[in-house]
Amino acid sequence: MTAELLVFFLLAALSVAGAVSLIFQKHPIHSALSLIVVMVALAGLYLLMGAEFVAAVQIIVYGGAIMVLFVFVIMLLNAGLEEHTSESKLAGFPGILLALALMGFVATTLARSAGSFVSSATDGGKIVANLSSTRQLSTMIFKDFVYPFELTSFLILIAILGAIVLAQRES
């Protein structure tokens, strides 16, 4: 087992553990802190794949800005322990079974087709272009994918407008 593989499994286990903890924690602050673990572990995974820009953005935007917002909102609302309804337990049993079935199905499919992954960066398993480098990424965003990139700015505008509409004070 190479060191790279070892780091991969360590980070993967960390992110899965963080995600599970995020769901099972009773207090919103604990859930938010678990989410930070997930974000940072994912950033490590991106770095492992050579995507240093995505990894940095993941830390700065998700691990930093977004999480601070989360924690602020939880503090401002003074949110306490979660309340559980009795129905959710009834729905939980088949739900967990179905989720496990889906997970197993997706995992087996991915494992069975491990050899057939195609990427525009590889040619028969040989890496021809490092698409995840920052230079490549910026060329892709501002040349090839400029249209959806600009549309995304409108998407953010819609979200801001929506937040203002739903949260503004009654006039």
Binding site: F117, V118, T122, L155, L161, G162
Partner: protein, 489 residues
């Protein structure tokens, strides 16, 4: 490669809709008049719709193949633009009545329309994803626009949570398809191995995500609650616009990618049958008109999926007999969108301030009290049912014919059975309007006013419903074009 001017002409409708949406936000602090914002938004909707023709005059792929300008995308741009125009007009009196901010409302409607336009032209999955999100996020906010109403909040929250879940499926599907093919561009997937299980899983996830957006069973649970709680003009938009956009993308995916064809026949077959029964059986027991029309929406999505089963059965070849099946889907979407907007506009007016009068019993005696309105609503209901001289008749006929022509006899039989079930609840409402005596409260209430802009919407939708039911040929000639979908192999 950098974008050329032609690329911008190809997305002119979206540019206009987004631009005018932003303009409305900038004008909001300076103008108080609701009529002014209605006028600006109506002009914006029409201008974008007119520019669909300009976009159509530059056929071919744009932005390195991210979008495709062809008669198919022109058709859907015209449809969602018209839907936006009608919803803008229909919403005016409603905004006054409920004292809601007009500029923000219209800006969201225009942004949502731009998103649907992107869906209509997208031939690359990430672009389609951004379009889908633009239309969805604007929809979530519009559903919760009546902030003082608990039902409206419930509607927005349910739509948002379940919609985000569906979007996650869609996005995961894109990732898997990329893993299997090395591209997100639909027209570059022709070389993909159709037996790759990774590709199948990816398309299945995409199907789940879009199935949610078009309210196909078993992903339809949200529909009645969301349609009931959202402001009625917004419900009119939901039942016509986002549905058309999602169906447009679904059809383009399953028409363009060879690996996504024959294999999916049974998936569409099962979805169609489940959706038809879920919609029609659910509608039987409803006493609230918005819920009734929501279940009828589900049923109609089922009929459209019958044509999808027929398209995939025929192997998607336009020149090889699948053309009429494509035409059936497009024609059905137009006829259905017009009728649903007309019906919801009437429901919105009769609902009154605070949407108090939504029970079927509130329609008792409408035939005597307001004969014109009752007659128009009956026309829409008959079109939903699919009786002759209405657009719904030809819509159903073409889908039925497509199913029979591709030897899907059982599917055609199930569709006929469902249409018969549908007759019960559509006729029940007509019977209530014409045969039942109104109770004392309704007889004492003044007649419901129908302002000018509402009358315009009703006249346009009613005339179009009859016109398409008498002379469907002009539209059919347009959509039976062999070059309908430009990127077909």
């Amino acid at each position: 490669m950098f974008p050329t001017p032609d690329d911008f002409y190809r997305v002119l409708p979206e540019v206009l809709w987004c631009g005018f949406g932003t303009l409305l936000m900038l004008l909001q602090p300076f103008f108080k008049s609701r009529q002014f914002f209605t006028a600006v938004a109506a002009i914006a909707a029409l201008a974008g719709t007119a520019c669909s023709v300009v976009a159509g005059a530059f056929p071919g792929p744009g932005f390195n193949g991210l979008i495709q300008s062809d008669p198919y995308s022109t058709f859907f741009h015209l449809l969602v633009g018209l839907v936006a125009f009608l919803v803008v007009l229909a919403a005016g009196p409603y905004l006054d009545r409920e004292n809601l901010p007009a500029a923000e409302f219209y800006a969201l409607v225009l942004f949502a329309t731009a998103g649907m336009g992107v869906l209509a032209g997208a031939q690359e999955l990430l672009t389609a994803f951004v379009g889908l999100e633009m239309s969805s996020i604007a929809s979530y906010v519009l559903a919760g626009f009546r902030r003082d109403s608990l039902k409206s909040g419930e509607s927005a929250l349910k739509y948002f949570l379940l919609g985000s879940f569906a979007t996650a499926f869609f996005l995961y599907g894109i990732a898997l398809v990329y893993g299997a093919t090395g591209t997100t561009q639909l027209d570059k997937m022709f070389a993909a191995d159709p037996h790759s299980s990774l590709l199948k899983l990816g398309f299945a996830m995409i199907l789940i995500g879009l199935g949610f957006k078009v309210a196909a069973a078993p992903f339809q649970i949200w529909t009645p609650d969301v349609y009931e709680g959202a402001p009625t003009p917004v419900t009119a938009l939901f039942s016509a616009g986002p549905k058309a956009g999602a169906f447009a993308l679904l059809l383009r995916i399953f028409a363009t990618v060879p690996a996504a064809t024959h294999l999916w026949f049974w998936a569409f077959w099962i979805l169609a049958v489940l959706t038809m029964f879920a919609g029609n059986l659910g509608a039987l027991v409803q006493t609230n008109i918005k819920r009734l029309l929501a279940y009828s929406s589900i049923a109609h999505a089922g009929y459209i999926l019958v044509a999808f089963a027929s398209v995939t059965y025929l192997g998607n070849n336009l020149s090889d007999g699948a053309g009429p099946a494509y035409a059936a889907i497009l024609f059905y979407l137009v006829s259905y969108a017009l009728v649903k907007i007309g019906a919801f506009t009437i429901v919105s007016q009769i609902g009154g301030t605070g949407e108090k009068h939504l029970a079927l019993d509130d329609y008792a005696g409408l035939g005597q009290r307001q004969p014109w309105i009752a007659a128009t609503l009956s026309l829409f209901l008959l079109s939903l049912l699919g009786l002759p001289i209405t657009a719904g008749f030809f819509g159903k006929l073409y889908i039925f014919k497509a199913a029979v022509d591709s030897h899907l006899i059982w599917l055609a039989v199930i569709m006929a059975v469902n249409s018969t079930i549908g007759a019960y609840y559509y006729f029940r409402l007509i019977v209530i309007m014409y045969m039942r005596e109104p109770n004392a409260e309704i007889s004492a209430a003044p007649l419901v006013a129908f302002p000018f802009s509402i009358v315009v919407v009703l006249v346009i939708t009613a005339i179009a419903t009859v016109a398409l039911g008498v002379a469907p040929n002009p539209i059919l000639r347009f959509i039976l074009d062999p070059a309908l979908i430009g990127n077909l192999r």
